[in-house]
Symmetry: C2
Subunit: 133 residues, 2 copies
């Protein structure tokens, strides 16, 4: 009878602790995120080549790095040399790993004479759990 009571007490504790466990797992994941806007201007004569480098780098990062949550790159329709990238990393450790990967270094070296300007803007997301449907 004592064992039954102990088991029941354990079960009740586990049931009440479970939501805390899941919340605990979920919140820090978003809390530590690094969310940034990279704003670039590219040499118009080398734009196609730059875009090929960027596409290859992004596809490799998303495929190979669990901590790279998105690299959503857009070019302005009225001025395609102006590029903005929404970068989301799971945390700063994921970002530090990212900039040491062979695919990132290939992009950085390959495009260094194509980039006219680069501005990195640290940001705070309004809704950190936002996705793309």
């Amino acid at each position: 009878m004592k064992t039954l009571k102990t088991n029941l007490a354990c079960l009740i504790i586990i049931i009440f602790m479970m939501p805390l466990y899941f919340c605990g797992n979920d919140k820090p994941q978003h809390k530590n995120q690094m969310v940034r806007l990279a704003k670039l201007v590219i040499d118009s004569a080398q734009l196609d080549s730059y875009n090929a480098f960027l596409k290859e780098e992004i596809e490799a990062s998303i495929r190979l790095e669990p901590g790279v949550l998105t690299l959503y790159a857009v070019s302005e329709k009225n001025n395609p040399t102006r590029i903005t990238i929404l970068e989301i990393y799971a945390d700063s450790a994921a970002y530090r790993l990212h900039v040491q990967t062979p695919h990132f270094l290939k992009y950085k070296t390959g495009t260094k004479d194509m980039v006219r300007s680069l501005e990195l803007v640290e940001t705070t997301p309004l809704i950190p759990e936002m996705k793309i449907k």
Copy 2:
């Protein structure tokens, strides 16, 4: 025997057509997407109130409108009054519906005296199928 051959021929045609069907469904979905950057500057005295309006509007849009694929809003850490929103709509019809919804109109009316400037930049995504993990 003739029926069996006909059925077999049909089955083969269906099997070979299936990838085309799925590709056909997938590509136009991305081809018609409207991807935009909204760049806003908000009156600093009304920033908290503005952010509350924006958050409510985005959450309703994502929940109620299948054609609103994301509204990813960020504020600059060094200047939180500067806000950028990555807006992705399934197509221009989804966008036209969006701007007529009660939640959008509530946001637009409620924040009209809080917005110092608004620039809407039409863009082309480098990788239209990109998501957020």
